[in-house]
Symmetry: C2
């Protein structure tokens, strides 16, 4: 048993995370008002709370106690099957039993018609307790993509069996030679014989190729695994169409199924070629999969088809040929927000752990208190200003990122259930914010985890305390589902300039509403002015970056631009949250209000001023990096 | 065999590290001119180069190939002995055989009388190849402390046998309940009987207590281990004297020895109580040691002494009673500079690894080149501006930190062999720079390692590439030998205010020399002006922090102060290096000159502007963190 035991993080989860979620959901985002909408009419704050209670309990019982277990008992492959610790099976089962896989879905699909913002809040307990157990995140995203782009039969056979927990889902985009560069994928899909189009599960193809970095790509947690695979259908000349235009999307089940969703007993030709051995996030397998290499040869399709065996893995086309990336982007955007939430919750998990540690560990005496006299007893870490600084930074990063991610989730609900104008605005705003929702927590909640280690001193560097694992787990989030560089190019190269800059203008108008509101609130005017200036600086930098119209010049400093943009968005979140705090508790009579105001103040005093340095190189289109000669490194 | 193999890092070490060291040592710091001094008169650039050649070769052959081995084959204790992989024994032996343990020592001690700056440069090869193999760093520091504070007999018996490689050394300060707070140590030392003062090895005491975080605290790499231990001698009332005044320093050998340095065959009562299981740096044991618990009872001392056994571990006083911390600080200061160098070399190791990867890995097409056409071949990572940015940041951090550490090493030489005035100045300047030399690389070369992971994409998150290990190894450096918070309090609370601010004034005068020189150099005037302003800002912030004379207020933001101070010091280093580059190669005719100017430019454009945000909270003595109520977190 490691010294940290389980109580600390759970006690903080119970006291802090839940109360933070309650405040953000109900006081700030007014989630209860969603029940006035037809889709959510059967719900009430009570039903929302019941979901939160259930998830908190399952996370406490089935996830948190096993977070170190899944780190030390890394997945292994015995040649036949992937071995995961029993706790992973139990956690997955408890999650599926809770109904959370289909929480946001229609009643007809067995769902709860829960608002996405409540679903996100509820899922945050699992992410905080153990980010890497299981494979639920991608299963829901996968099934959602099939719901949107698949045929009714595909929805019934595949999506429904993912939502109900029978099967899991994956997202197979990258290949060993094509990570960020999806246009270069080489997996081929060829029609499976003459009658290939007539298969009731969808036009039937044979796929051959290798897919890398596939999370939950193989395991025995579920009866079957539904792979969503990007592949290229050869053109009339027999060659794959270059670029993204040639990419199509396919459902490739690990085990073949019939139209009733029953396993046919035949294995599809999807073979595990290797497990990646990672720095962290070890509760989920990460795999290299071979499609159609002949390891599990599949007999010729019923529709006529190929002679003999081993001609490829069976896959069913989803949507139209050549539109695979468009279909997949639906899933990727959801995944990006989920990654932001994962990073956020790891940040908060470290915060809670280091807060508990700082509250109990005795060390040293406060500076300037006259207490340097060594005969006085040592004080607790939390009594030192520098420790408070490290705690407040974590709170500011983690709770700020949580606010942003819940705000984005609320936009998803607005985009789905708001009136036409509001829905369109919500979708546009979400487009602009997605790169920030993904990248900002990945970077700054990782920094939060480093501060959590620092507070623990030498103990934080040992595997006896949970914080080093949070830091390792969190390092993944700047990489997967689009690296930092990809997010930055998406933001500055596409999101803020698309539709003549409509997204950026909408963001500016939305931030301006917060600024105007805060100006009227005693105590917030200075921050409102600070945010107004920072927003103007970002808009000016956007213009300056694109002043020459040369994308190479504009995007050379896209990452510093994204860092500054993210800090402005977070300052906006904190100002809006602070306004809600004061609206509810103007005299700061409760400790939580003091805490939220302190975290907001920290952000405005310590963080927002950093944007100047980041934007300076954007404004000047600084070419120091871009012009560096290769042989000079 | 992992994909990274050994060639990449070694090829970069050979081409880049050696050429960087040559430039910094000879062109910039003019190390060859030291041979004009009597102590180094037998040396020449050729003998210096021979040492560098030897160390580079041993690092390549005995260290680099085994860096992953020591990470995966963590030290373990079989109940009797600590088991380390064979490669660790081989590396230690090769290092000892090279004579580097005593490189800087007098000829009479078997040393080479090498300048410390050359010794540091030579040792950097080992740190780059595998930071954690062996235990050499502390052995040299331990022996140096005995040389300065020990009796001739202690020097001959203990220090000499550490320099010659027979024995290793440790530094036993921290205890489980007293990490940063040394005044709270509880280990007791009591005189070993009536004749205790007459022991030829030094006044003989019996020690009882527990020491935590002891690096290389137990192993079988050497015949014996010389522990330098801080403990308290009880006062007349039988109680330990409170505070640091009660602390004394003792030599406590693992195995007892006679005055000839031969093992007596008797074990001292120092028992391994546990190995810490760490996030990284796994090639060196980190231990909890019990002194005098009775596991290896020692018979009563020859000088009379105690009845029976188990009354404590035998220790010999070094220096005077109550001056232990003063004696140990000598060792700690050296250790702090070594930690800075360790962090630096990990940063550079990641830089070289990611540079090699970026030069070969194909991925995507450059933005704005018209090459978005997917039918064009993919380009190498290094052709992307954002990848160049991440490489240049690493180069700027790593080579800048190397310059700083070598500059500090050169100050050590000046302090030892310069004329009286120069020597005093060098020692004072070193006092001010030590917290920066330790903290800045720990923070920013860790960030460099994170960028090295990022460049590798998903592969960087796997244990098949070396970069994730560098990042884990480097995380220790902000913690050991005085945490970031301790360094910051030392800098702002002591170093810049001591002697009426004489240290800070000396630093300002020294930086001003560089600024004046750079103003005359075409192309450097703007950076000179930028540095002048930044230096003025730091001085102003120092004054503002202390304006109320309240240490609590002044030091509440000591860490942001140290970050800004560090960036100013690094900008100074880069400006001075840039001046040397242009002095030698004004037309930038060689690629390395272009590279150094690029890294300097990166620092002035992207990094130095960050100081504004850090200093703002210092200048206002911002109390956001210090005033935060505990229950509000």
């Amino acid at each position: 048993m490691s010294p940290q035991g389980m109580p600390p993080i759970i006690s903080s989860m119970t006291t802090s995370l839940r109360s933070t979620l309650d405040f953000l959901l109900y006081d700030w985002l007014r989630a209860a008002s969603l029940t006035a909408r037809p889709r959510f009419a059967d719900h009430s704050r009570e039903t929302f709370d019941a979901v939160l209670d259930t998830c908190e309990r399952i996370a406490r019982e089935k996830y948190a106690p096993f977070n170190r277990t899944v780190d030390t008992q890394e997945p292994r492959f015995d040649g036949e099957k992937v071995i995961l610790p029993q706790c992973t099976h139990d956690a997955r089962q408890a999650y599926a039993d809770s109904g959370m896989l289909g929480a946001a879905q229609d009643y007809e699909l067995g769902g709860m018609q829960l608002p996405y913002v409540v679903e996100s809040a509820a899922n945050s307990f699992f992410a905080c307790a153990s980010i890497s157990i299981g494979s639920n995140l991608l299963t829901t995203g996968n099934a959602n993509a099939i719901l949107v782009h698949g045929t009714p039969m595909q929805q019934r056979v595949f999506a429904a069996n993912e939502f109900n927990g029978r099967w899991a889902g994956t997202m197979c985009l990258s290949e060993p030679q094509a990570g960020s560069s999806l246009s270069d994928i080489a997996t081929r899909a060829e029609p499976d014989g003459a009658g290939f189009e007539a298969d009731p599960l969808g036009p039937r193809y044979r796929l051959r190729g290798n897919k890398m970095w596939i999370s939950a790509g193989d395991h025995e947690l579920t009866e079957n695994i539904v792979h969503l695979v990007l592949a290229k259908i050869p053109g009339p000349d027999g060659k794959p169409v270059p670029g993204v235009k040639g990419i199509s999307l396919f459902i490739v089940p690990k085990k073949l199924v019939d139209t009733e969703g029953k396993l046919t007993g035949e294995r599809n030709d999807v073979a595990l070629a290797g497990l990646n051995h990672k720095l962290g996030w070890r509760g989920t397998t990460n795999t290299l999969l071979n499609f159609g290499e002949g390891r599990y040869p599949v007999r010729a399709g019923q529709g006529g088809g190929l002679d003999g065996r081993g001609a490829g893995a069976i896959g069913y086309l989803v949507g139209k040929p050549g539109e695979g990336l468009k279909c997949m982007f639906h899933m990727m955007n959801e995944a990006r927000i989920s990654i932001g939430m994962a990073a956020t919750m790891l940040g908060l998990a470290g915060y809670y752990a280091s807060l508990d540690y700082a509250r109990t560990r005795l060390q040293g005496r406060p500076i300037g208190s006259g207490g340097k006299d060594a005969s006085s007893p040592q004080v607790r870490l939390i009594e030192h200003a520098d420790v408070k600084r490290m705690l407040l930074a974590q709170k500011s990063y983690g709770e700020g990122a949580l606010a942003l991610n819940l705000y984005c989730a609320r936009l998803v609900d607005e985009g789905r259930t708001g009136d036409a104008g509001a829905a369109a605005d919500a979708r546009l705003l979400l487009e602009v914010l997605t790169p920030i929702a993904k990248s900002w927590p990945s970077e700054f909640c990782l920094e939060a985890n480093s501060l959590a280690i620092q507070i623990h001193g030498g103990y934080g560097y040992t595997r006896d305390f949970p914080v080093e694992q949070y830091w390792r787990d969190n390092r993944l989030n700047m990489i997967h589902e689009g690296t930092h560089g990809i997010q930055a190019a998406d933001l500055l190269g596409r999101k803020v300039v698309m539709q003549g800059g409509a997204g950026l203008q909408l963001l500016a108008r939305t931030v301006a509403v917060t600024i105007a509101k805060a100006r009227q609130r005693p105590g917030l005017a200075a921050w409102a002015g600070q945010l107004e200036q920072a927003l103007r600086d970002v808009i000016d930098a956007t213009r300056a970056a694109w002043a020459t119209g040369n994308a190479g010049e504009a995007l050379a400093n896209a990452v510093p631009y994204m860092q500054a943009f993210g800090h402005v968005v977070l300052a906006w979140m904190w100002l809006d949250v602070a306004d809600s705090v004061l609206a509810k508790d103007a005299s700061l009579s409760i400790a939580a209000s003091v805490g939220r105001m302190g975290a907001a103040r920290y952000f405005f005093h310590y963080e927002l001023p950093k944007t100047g340095a980041w934007l300076a190189v954007v404004c000047t289109r600084d070419a120091t990096c871009a012009d560096m000669a290769e042989d000079a490194f």
